[in-house]
C-alpha cells in the first residue's frame, strides 16, 4: 500500500459510519418530502415534486403561524439566556464561601428531566391553583392567565426556558472566564480601569469564542424544543404556542402525513443551519 493511500483507508470506516447515520437519513427525508405519502392509507408514496413546499408557502396559515412562533420563542429566550448567563458567570467568577454549592444548585434545572419539570411548571402556572398567581398577589400585581392566555403563553414558556437553560450558558462562559490570564487585568487596573471597563474591554472580547459557541448550541436546541412545550401547552391555547417542531409532530404522528411533515422538517433543518451560519459569520465579523 502506498503512503498516500493509507490515510484515506483509515478514515473509510468513519466515512461510511457518517454516511449511514447522517447523510442517508437526511437524503431519505428530502426524498420523502417530494412525495405525497399518508401512512394511514395503504397506497405507496406518489412523487409530487415540490408541491409540499408550495403548500407550506402559499396554502398553510398554520405553517406561517408555527414559523413565527418558533422565531419569537427562540429569538427572545436565547437572547435573554445569553445576557443573563454571562451576568451570572461574572457574578460567580470570584471566590466566596459556598461557591461550589451555589454552582451545583444553579445547575439543577439542566440536570433534571424536562418532562418532570414541565409538569411542575404547568401546575405552577395554573391560574386558579398555581403558585405564580400567588407570587403576583404578594407583589401587588394583577393575576395572569399564563399558559391559558394567547398573549401570555409564549412569555410564560420563555420564562420556563430561561430558568432551565441559563445555567448552561453560565457554566460554559464561567469556564471560559476562569481560564483567562490575569495579566491583562492587572495592567488595566494599573491604568485606572474600573470594573465596567474591565468587563467590556477585557473579559467580553476574551470569552467571545465561548459565547458564540454556546449561542450556536442554544439556537440549535431551542428551535427543536419539544418536550417542555408539548407537556405544558401542547401548542395551545389554539395554536398560540405551536412551534414548527410541534407542528411537524402533529402532521407526522397525528395526521400521518409523512411526506408533508418531511418537507417541514427540511425547512426547519435549513433554518437551524442558517441561524448557525449567522453565528459563525458574526463571530468572524467580531474577531
Amino acid at each position: 500500500m502506498s503512503e498516500r493511500g493509507a490515510p484515506w483507508l483509515f478514515i473509510l470506516p468513519a466515512f461510511f459510519f457518517l454516511v449511514a447515520v447522517v447523510a442517508f437519513p437526511v437524503l431519505y427525508t428530502v426524498a420523502i418530502s417530494l412525495t405525497r405519502w399518508s401512512a394511514a392509507v395503504t397506497e405507496p408514496p406518489t412523487w409530487i415534486g415540490l408541491a409540499n413546499y408550495a403548500d407550506m408557502a402559499t396554502a398553510s396559515p398554520e405553517f406561517r403561524n408555527a414559523l413565527l412562533v418558533s422565531i419569537y420563542f427562540t429569538g427572545v429566550s436565547v437572547a435573554i439566556e445569553i445576557v443573563l448567563g454571562i451576568a451570572l458567570a461574572q457574578l460567580l467568577n470570584r471566590d466566596f464561601v459556598g461557591k461550589g454549592l451555589v454552582r451545583t444548585l444553579l445547575l439543577l434545572p439542566v440536570a433534571g428531566t424536562p418532562v418532570a419539570f414541565a409538569l411542575v411548571w404547568r401546575n405552577m402556572y395554573n391560574p386558579s391553583y398555581g403558585i405564580m398567581n400567588w407570587f403576583m398577589e404578594q407583589a401587588g400585581l394583577p393575576h395572569q392567565r399564563w399558559l391559558a392566555g394567547i398573549s401570555t403563553v409564549i412569555p410564560s414558556l420563555i420564562l420556563f426556558d430561561v430558568w432551565q437553560w441559563t445555567p448552561l450558558v453560565m457554566l460554559i462562559t464561567l469556564a471560559a472566564m476562569e481560564a483567562l490570564p490575569t495579566d491583562p487585568y492587572e495592567a488595566a487596573v494599573i491604568d485606572g480601569a474600573g470594573p465596567v471597563e474591565l468587563f467590556r474591554h477585557i473579559t467580553l472580547p476574551l470569552i467571545r469564542p465561548a459565547v458564540f459557541a454556546v449561542m450556536a448550541l442554544r439556537l440549535m436546541d431551542s428551535f427543536k424544543t419539544f418536550d417542555q412545550i408539548y407537556v405544558t401547552t401542547q401548542g395551545g391555547p389554539g395554536t398560540a404556542s405551536q412551534t414548527l417542531i410541534l407542528y411537524v409532530f402533529d402532521q407526522a404522528f397525528r395526521y400521518l402525513k409523512i411526506g408533508y411533515a418531511s418537507a417541514v422538517i427540511i425547512v426547519l433543518f435549513l433554518m437551524i443551519l442558517a441561524s448557525n451560519l449567522a453565528v459563525v459569520y458574526l463571530r468572524r465579523a467580531a474577531a
Binding site: 394511514a40 386558579s128 393575576h143 391559558a148 401542547q234 401548542g235 391555547p237 398560540a240
Partner: protein, 436 residues
C-alpha cells in the same frame, strides 16, 4: 297448628334434598356439553399495546390468573393516550406482526383504522363455539356500547369501559343557595351565575384545550341542534346552531369559569371539582370514584349527579368507550381472542364496577348489594344515559384528529376572546378541505 308446624318443618328435611337435585340438574348440561377449552393456545406469547389506565392496571394485576387458566403469556406495553395513538399508527402502517391486541377508542380513530384495514373482524371468532366461551355472553353489553364497536359488517372490538358525560354538582352549595340542579342549558347558565364566587368557587368549568375542548363542547353542539356534518355531508361546524352553541359555551365559561379555562384538560377540570373549586362540571361519569376518594377529593359526600342538561333542540348523550381490538396482522388471533374474552368477562369487569368505574355490561348494574352502596343520583343518571346514548363518533369522519384540532383551535380561541363565527368558519374551511 299441627298442620302448619309440619308445613314449616318441611324445608328442614326437604331443603337439602331439593338443593341436591338442583345441583345435579345444573351439572347435567355441563357434563353433557364439552367444556370450553381455555388451554387451546397453551405456550403462546401475545403482546398488547395498551392505554395507561386503571383498567390496564387491573388486567396487569390479575394476569397470573389468566396465565394459569390458559398457559398463554401476555406482554403489556402501556402508553399515555397520545403516545399510544402515535405508536399504534406507526406499528400498523408498518404492518407489524408482533402486535396481537391493542386498545382503541373506536369513536375517535375507528373510521381511520377501519378504512385502513387495521382491525381484524371478530365475528368469525365470536360465532365459533370452540373459540368463544358460553359464559362470555356478548348480549350482556349495552346495545349503545356494542353498536360503537361495529363498522359495516365488521365487529372490530369489545368494550373495556363506557362513559357518557354527566353533570356533577355540589349539592351542599346548591342547597345553601336554594338553587335546583339545572335541567336545561339556560338553567345551567343561571345556576353558574348564582354559585360563582371567584376565586373560591367557580360556577361552571370545563375543558378548553385544543385537543380536549371538542369533547365537552359537543354536548352543547347537539343540544343546540347542530352536528359535525351538514346534511349534504360537508362540515356542519359553522352552522348557525354550531355558532350559537359555541357562543354559549364560551359565554358561560368566560363569565363563570376559572381563568385558565382556555388551557384546561381533563386533569384540570377534575382537580378543580375535587378541590372544591368548581360548583359544576359536565364531564366523564367515570370520575365518581375519584370524587368519592378522600385521598384525592375534598368533596366526598358533597356532590351529586344529574343528566347532562337539555338545550332547545333536546338532548343527545354521546357515548365514549375504550375497547380492545385484535390486529389483522397478528399471527396468534386465537390466543389474542382468549385474552380479550377473559379481560371483558363479567368476573373481570365486576371489581371495576364496584370501584365506581361504569362498566358496559347490563348484568353488573343489577347487583342489589352494589346498588345499595353507590350515590343514587349517579346510578340512575348513568344508567339512563347509557341506555339512550349514541355512539356518534368524535367526530364521525376519517380525519378525526385533524378535525378535532381545527374545531378545538376555534373553541380555544373563542374562549380566549375570539369571535365564534369567524373561528368556526376557519375551522369549517379546514374540515371541508379534509372531507374532499
Amino acid at each position: 297448628m299441627k298442620r302448619s308446624l309440619r308445613f314449616v318443618e318441611l324445608p328442614r328435611f326437604g331443603g337439602p334434598v331439593l338443593i341436591g337435585i338442583l345441583l345435579v340438574a345444573l351439572a347435567m348440561p355441563a357434563a353433557s356439553q364439552p367444556r370450553f377449552d381455555w388451554k387451546q393456545a397453551q405456550g403462546t406469547e401475545i403482546r398488547v399495546l395498551a392505554l395507561r389506565a386503571w383498567f390496564t392496571d387491573h388486567f396487569k394485576e390479575r394476569l397470573p390468573e389468566f396465565e394459569r387458566l390458559t398457559g398463554i403469556k401476555v406482554i403489556f406495553e402501556d402508553y399515555p393516550e397520545d403516545a399510544l395513538r402515535q405508536k399504534l399508527a406507526v406499528e400498523m402502517a408498518a404492518r407489524n406482526r408482533a402486535i396481537d391486541l391493542f386498545h382503541t377508542g373506536t369513536s375517535f380513530e375507528g373510521r381511520r383504522f377501519f378504512t385502513s384495514g387495521w382491525y381484524a373482524d371478530l365475528n368469525p371468532l365470536i360465532r365459533d363455539p370452540s373459540a368463544t366461551s358460553p359464559d362470555w355472553d356478548s348480549s350482556d353489553f349495552f346495545d349503545s356500547v356494542w353498536a360503537a364497536q361495529r363498522f359495516g359488517d365488521l365487529q372490530v372490538s369489545v368494550p373495556l369501559q363506557a362513559v357518557t358525560q354527566v353533570l356533577f354538582y355540589r349539592k351542599d352549595l346548591f342547597e345553601a343557595a336554594g338553587v335546583r340542579p339545572p335541567g336545561t342549558l339556560d338553567e345551567l347558565e343561571e345556576a353558574a351565575r348564582r354559585l360563582h364566587q371567584p376565586p373560591a368557587v367557580y360556577g361552571f368549568t370545563s375543558r378548553g384545550r385544543r385537543t380536549q375542548a371538542p369533547y365537552s363542547w359537543a354536548h352543547f353542539l347537539y343540544a343546540h341542534g347542530g352536528s359535525w356534518l351538514s346534511p349534504e355531508g360537508g362540515a356542519g361546524i359553522a352552522s348557525p346552531a354550531a355558532v350559537s352553541a359555541t357562543a354559549r359555551y364560551a359565554r358561560i365559561l368566560r363569565s363563570f369559569g376559572d381563568p385558565g379555562v382556555a388551557d384546561n384538560g381533563p386533569i384540570e377540570v377534575q382537580t378543580l371539582f375535587a378541590q372544591g373549586r368548581a360548583a359544576m362540571i359536565l364531564d366523564a361519569a367515570s370520575w365518581a370514584g375519584v370524587f368519592d376518594n378522600p385521598d384525592r377529593s375534598r368533596v366526598v359526600g358533597k356532590w351529586a349527579v344529574s343528566a347532562a342538561p337539555r338545550g332547545l333542540a333536546g338532548v343527545t348523550y354521546e357515548l365514549w368507550a375504550w375497547s380492545m381490538a385484535i390486529s389483522p396482522f397478528s399471527q396468534k388471533k386465537r390466543a389474542a381472542w382468549l385474552f380479550l374474552q377473559w379481560a371483558t368477562s363479567k368476573e373481570m369487569q365486576r371489581p371495576l364496577q364496584v370501584r365506581g368505574f361504569p362498566m358496559p355490561r347490563n348484568s353488573l348494574w343489577a347487583d342489589p348489594e352494589w346498588r345499595a352502596k353507590v350515590e343514587p343520583s349517579w346510578l340512575h343518571t348513568v344508567l339512563l344515559q347509557f341506555r339512550t346514548a349514541k355512539p356518534i363518533g368524535h367526530p364521525p369522519v376519517v380525519a378525526a384528529a385533524e378535525v378535532i384540532d381545527a374545531v378545538g383551535t376555534a373553541i380555544s380561541r373563542t374562549l380566549a376572546g375570539g369571535d365564534p363565527k369567524a373561528e368556526l368558519d376557519a375551522a369549517a374551511r379546514t374540515m371541508n378541505a379534509l372531507l374532499r
